[in-house]
Assembly symmetry: C2
Homo-oligomer: 203 residues x 2
């Protein structure tokens, strides 16, 4: 019963966009309202604070990306193909941002996690939770690759750790320096950490 509205969705979209561009602390409630075309009173009708919106917006963004993640990391795809395809998608996404925003913006969860630590415990916790979910796809791919004898690693957990550092590190660097350079040879570097030999890599 009662009136309906998409203001809540518009607020989450505006928050995602602005936070990705400028970072959490540089974005004001007023700016989010303006971009969403919503008055501040309505903002506080839907969300109890800026932090609450940030958390809701992360969930929204994750739900939106999940189908793509599930498709790319489908158990039906060969494990190394999953990683390759995923890195290609990362690259394309950041390329699009370079064009539309003038620079690469990196991973929104990671940037938010770096920025919110020690300031906004609930935002920090939520961002880390979504990073953990993202990481699970990588873990599964590496474990599958190991089980199928496609890679040469002593300790799969350590390999996951290194690959995760490479991936989030490359995205973070692409934001820090604004260009796509860090993403260019990423798949090759991942293969190296996985102990895939040069001859196989070139195949």
């Amino acid at each position: 019963m009662g009136r309906t509205s998409d203001a809540k969705e518009r607020l989450m979209a505006a928050a995602t966009e602005l936070t990705w561009q400028k970072g959490y602390n540089a974005v004001t409630v007023d700016a989010i309202c303006e971009r969403a075309g919503v008055k501040k009173g309505s903002f506080y009708h839907f969300f109890e604070s800026k932090a609450a919106l940030a958390i809701a917006a992360m969930d929204d963004a994750w739900q939106a990306r999940r189908p793509t993640m599930d498709a790319v990391f489908s158990a039906d795809n060969p494990p190394l193909e999953r990683l390759k395809k995923y890195i290609e998608i990362l690259y394309q996404k950041q390329l699009e941002m370079s064009r539309t925003q003038g620079r690469a913006l990196g991973c929104p969860f990671f940037s938010l996690s770096m920025e919110s630590g020690g300031l906004e415990p609930e935002v920090w916790e939520a961002s880390r939770r979504y990073l953990g979910r993202k990481r699970k796809y990588i873990e599964a791919a590496v474990h599958d690759a190991q089980a199928q004898g496609l890679v040469d690693v002593d300790d799969p957990e350590e390999a996951v750790e290194g690959i995760w550092t490479l991936m989030e590190g490359a995205l973070a660097r692409s934001r820090a320096q604004g260009d796509l350079e860090p993403l260019r040879e990423l798949y090759d570097q991942v293969l190296r950490l996985l102990g895939v030999k040069r001859a196989v890599r070139e195949a």
Copy 2:
């Protein structure tokens, strides 16, 4: 002529500390003044803006760390020892922060670079410049290692790129998640990117 003072130094130290903890946008001029024990009027006597202070503070911090960097990356040390020692120092530094601050804070230049893009062009440029200076030490070590036949890489530039991503990525992750986990096996992962064989690594 005239009165002397260390207020400028105190302001730079306070800015470095607070920005490292909370990030650039979350730190106010008032907070910096309070921590430095300096009134706002004095702040603007020494710096024309918060951005100008941030840039001066980066330079100050870099000058302070440079001697250590020069010692660790001395051409007199074997190239791989330089990298190993440097990673050990990174680890110790973040460990100290875990104790004193309750969490790892990562690399101040990198965090600042991620946060200032698109908002504070001069701060962004400066942070990237200092990151570039830091990177040069890694480059030299990798090139030397290659020249001395200690490593097995096809393309040294690509190896530097990957190692740099691993290092800054691990520091960034240590901030994002607040613990030291990402730094633990860092040297091993670096060796893997350098194509150092398992047997040699274990030696």
